[in-house]
């Protein structure tokens, strides 16, 4: 596959991520902040997001397994997750977190556990897609190409 084909593949892939609402405009902000002096910026931020998310999901699962659930604590974890997903533009995770927080307020344990599954699901899907996208980017760069500039109508 030549660079042109790879670039087209990358464009199609990221477009589908926006269309399916896994990502929002914030992800383009990250792309904008990447330049020749910081060619790894998006990769670094996304990697930090993966590490942070897995820690939060572990903490959340633990907090919701307790006999008497501390909803304040659960809410604090979800708040963190909402913030980090918003910062990288992981729209699906962010929206799942917003719904989750409403049930924390209601102290609805069953709904909270369902929300945890939903948030996890959203996270693993977007993680998978981001990994594919970044792999494509690496291939483009390795072949001497540059990452296309995305401009969606946001």
């Amino acid at each position: 596959m030549d660079v042109g084909q790879m670039r087209r593949q990358w464009m199609d892939y990221i477009k589908s991520m926006f269309e399916e609402r896994f990502l929002d405009g914030q992800f383009l902000q990250l792309q904008q902040l990447q330049d020749e002096n910081n060619p790894e910026f998006v990769f670094e931020v996304v990697s930090l997001f993966f590490d942070d998310s897995e820690r939060i999901l572990k903490d959340l699962s633990f907090a919701l397994e307790q006999q008497s659930v501390d909803f304040k604590k659960v809410d604090a974890h979800v708040h963190q997750f909402k913030g980090s997903s918003a910062s990288i533009g992981a729209q699906g995770v962010k929206n799942a977190c917003i719904a989750f927080r409403n049930f924390c307020e209601e102290q609805n344990i069953d709904a909270c556990r369902r929300c945890l599954l939903q948030v996890k699901q959203e996270y693993f899907v977007v993680k998978n897609k981001l990994e594919t996208l970044l792999r494509l980017e690496q291939q483009i760069v390795a072949a001497g190409g540059s990452i296309p500039i995305m401009e969606l109508g946001f």
Binding site: N38, D52, G83, A86, S87
Partner: protein
């Protein structure tokens, strides 16, 4: 992207989230600012060279009573801080900066992921220059520049007014003020002496803060808050 003239401005960014620290650092550097990031309010105060004496704060036990004052020579032109942080919140940090005679001239900008009007007003009333909704975008950063200039070119007339107005607490403010202008060759013992004074007056300063605010309002200085509020209302319609 940014102009070379801006590179002299140094911003201290405070956020407990490593992702957001990385993001704000890149945003600021792209806008040609010099950036230092820290992960808590107490570390921010430490960097600014202010002793933190709040005994209720859990991290205070780790902070030595006398700071090495390595950063006295590093000028910070603006502090940008997250609102929601464990321990000392961005609001607490803002209050500590505005209560400190040596730091109060440093403009503070608050960032928060939540659009809560009462929170925003509280921060602006306490002296925050701007309130940014997270995630912060490149376009937001243009709003920092006017505050940098204001801090850089200090109006000596305003300083005099301030002294008269706060004559009540002038005695307590004198010591840290002189500490601020110390050169780095200052001997350790002198710094220690100032730090001790700093510690003693902390509760006093807090008590006086209400009076200080009251007197500011009486003298019609609340126009400052009005101005920032007005500016925010413009932003609110955009969000």
């Amino acid at each position: 992207m940014g102009m070379a003239a801006e590179s002299q401005f140094h911003v201290l960014a405070v956020d407990d989230s490593i992702i957001d620290r990385k993001l704000i650092e890149r945003l600021l550097k792209t806008s040609s600012y010099q950036v230092t990031t820290v992960d808590s309010g107490s570390k921010a105060l430490e960097f600014l060279g202010l002793c933190e004496n709040d005994q209720n704060h859990h991290t205070s036990t780790n902070i030595p009573s006398v700071f090495p004052n390595n950063h006295q020579d590093v000028e910070v032109n603006l502090v940008i801080t997250d609102y929601c942080m464990p321990g000392m919140t961005g609001y607490d940090l803002l209050k500590k900066i505005k209560e400190s005679s040596s730091l109060r001239n440093i403009p503070v900008v608050i960032m928060s992921s939540e659009n809560v009007p009462s929170r925003i007003n509280r921060c602006l009333e306490e002296g925050a220059e701007e309130f940014f909704l997270k995630p912060v975008r490149l376009s937001d950063l243009s709003r920092l520049k006017p505050h940098m200039k204001k801090n850089k070119v200090k109006d000596p007339r305003n300083e005099t007014e301030e002294k008269i107005e706060n004559s009540e607490i002038l005695l307590q403010q004198e010591a840290p003020k002189s500490q601020y202008s110390h050169s780095e060759s200052e001997s350790q013992s002198q710094l220690q002496a100032h730090s001790t004074i700093d510690q003693q007056q902390q509760p006093l300063q807090q008590n006086n803060n209400n009076n200080k605010r009251k007197s500011m309002e009486q003298q019609g200085l609340s126009s400052e808050t009005d101005r920032t509020r007005q500016r925010y209302s413009g932003i609110a319609t955009v969000v």
